[in-house]
């Protein structure tokens, strides 16, 4: 009788499909995964501590480096927290501009998700299409703030500059081509049988499991819980805009893909409404340059692209925050990896990472 024993395989941190530097130890029985343990920390830069040693305004560019695929949303989260702490009233126009750029960034980030999911499952053509279209959004951001990656556009009190005059036309053009390229993904990926086989029914999660790991964002919506902070808290001008929250049914990888795919349409809807309803006015609130928020603490959360992005800031009345803690959705979502991988095959673990869509800059912070 041959003896069998479990086998431990270390995946990453230098692995092309771990989205950066994630290491996962897989305990295997043959090809079946018994346990998957993520090991993090390879990209730790101490951003919380960096924020504590900078003034409130100087901290914003560091938040760009958290989830570097959707910097606008991080800027927004941090700025909203500081504004709440310092009681700064943001002008209406700035709020609308924020919605436009944050939702465009959500589209860009979900395109990266689709692209990287495709290449992780072996469909490299799919990746090229998604990255081609993401460039269109980056071109818009380049116009708005002069950067393609670390935007530093949303500032404490508003945004750094008004939208350039040619922006509206360019954005309009982008929204017009969006359904065309989305249809291309339908043809090239969604309909593809191999793609479907790899995603449907794999890494299924129940509502209870997802809740017990405190997953948020598209990961929780995929199991059928319509939890979206833009709806639940209704911050900024979101309550004035109409959009739906797509949810999944089975909580499998396929639903995680579909939820994000449909969210692109919802974000486009929001951009369209914000662009049409853009009021005149200031783009920056007036507040003292040497910002000293009163003593106190605040926890402010926004719907980042990957889930609930929360900033907890304690102020001691000085020019720098006394303590900053960031609730990073990628980090917390990754805790569900073990449940998603158990009983699956090694190849499915790659689909599972991809479907959680963690970003290591945000996981390690």
């Amino acid at each position: 009788m041959p003896q069998t024993e479990t086998y431990t395989l270390s995946m990453g941190p230098q692995h092309p499909s771990t989205h950066g530097v994630l290491q996962v130890r897989l305990d295997l029985d043959g090809e079946t995964i018994l346990k998957a343990t993520p090991y993090m920390g390879y990209l730790h830069r101490g951003i919380e501590k960096l924020l504590e040693s900078r003034t409130y305004v100087q901290g914003v560019p560091y938040t760009d480096r958290l989830d570097y695929v959707s910097s606008m949303n991080n800027n927004l989260g941090y700025c909203r927290a500081v504004e709440e702490l310092a009681q700064i009233e943001v002008p209406e126009r700035a709020e609308y501009i924020r919605v436009i750029v944050a939702e465009l960034n959500r589209i860009a980030s979900h395109l990266v998700f689709i692209g990287s999911l495709a290449i992780d499952l072996g469909a490299s053509t799919g990746m090229l299409y998604a990255f081609r279209d993401r460039e269109k959004v980056l071109d818009l951001f380049d116009l708005v703030c002069g950067a393609r990656m670390t935007f530093h556009y949303i500032r404490v009190g508003g945004v750094s500059a008004d939208l350039p005059p040619e922006f509206a036309a360019k954005c309009d053009e982008f929204l017009k081509v969006l359904p065309e390229f989305m249809q291309e993904y339908e043809d090239i990926l969604t309909g593809n049988e191999i793609f479907q086989y790899r995603l449907k029914g794999t890494s299924r999660m129940t509502k209870e499991q997802a809740l017990s790991h405190n997953m948020t964002g598209p990961n929780i919506r995929a199991v059928g819980i319509p939890f979206d902070i833009r709806k639940v808290d209704g911050y900024g001008v979101y309550p004035k805009l109409a959009f739906d929250v797509p949810v999944g049914e089975n909580g499998d990888n396929w639903d995680r893909y579909r939820v994000r795919y449909l969210e692109i349409y919802e974000s486009a809807k929001l951009v369209r409404q914000a662009l049409d309803g853009l009021p005149e006015g200031d783009f920056m609130a007036k507040f003292p340059k040497a910002l000293r928020p009163p003593k106190g603490e605040v926890y402010s959360r926004t719907e980042g692209t990957r889930g609930e992005l929360g900033f907890y800031i304690v102020s001691d009345g000085g020019p720098k925050p006394y303590r900053v803690h960031i609730r990073r959705p990628s980090f917390i979502n990754l805790q569900g990896l073990d449940d998603m991988c158990r009983g699956m095959l090694i190849g499915d673990s790659v689909a599972a990472f991809s479907a959680i869509d963690p970003l290591m800059g945000e996981v390690d912070c």
Partner: protein, 161 residues
């Protein structure tokens, strides 16, 4: 039918194979940078600067090292303005902090270097250096003239008494 989706996907690729190219030949062809583009080296206009150090104070990562020398008239001048490119976040805070528009980006994004030392960029040009010396000389002459005038005045006052 199994394989239908695969074929549809291939159809999309086939169509694009004959369609317009999405890429171009860098570095033979280059795209123009946008008006607000932040990148490349900082450019410094020595005629506009008043040596207030606001730019260096605004920098979150201490990427700007200034050497400020007071002249004989107690006015401050910039002798050296070093931009530590390796520390720079390209956040634009320095440019926004300057009330005299003395700073801007040169937008030349191809700035990789072989050595770390080459990353520190002195922004005061030879022309700026000359300007600096000129200002120092001028202030010195001014101070001397002032001192002389004062001495003369005192002498005269002494004479009167």
């Amino acid at each position: 039918m199994f394989g239908e989706g695969l074929l549809t996907g291939m159809g999309v690729t086939w169509k694009h194979f004959w369609g317009k190219k999405e890429t171009f030949c860098y570095p033979e062809e280059k795209l123009p940078m946008t008006e607000r583009f932040r990148g490349g080296h900082l450019m410094f206009d020595h005629t506009k600067c008043v040596a207030c150090t606001l730019c260096s104070l605004a920098c979150p990562n201490q990427a700007i090292k200034l050497k400020i020398v007071p002249d004989a008239m107690k006015k401050r001048h910039i002798e050296s303005y070093v931009h530590l490119v390796g520390r720079c976040l390209y956040c634009n805070l320095c440019i926004e902090a300057c009330n005299f528009h003395a700073l801007s980006w040169d937008k030349n994004y191809a700035i990789s270097t072989w050595h770390k030392e080459e990353m520190d960029d002195e922004l005061v040009t030879a022309e700026g250096k000359e300007f600096f010396n000129e200002m120092m000389e001028k202030a010195k002459a001014e101070a001397e003239a002032k001192a002389k005038a004062e001495a003369d005045k005192q002498k005269n006052e002494g004479g009167d008494a």
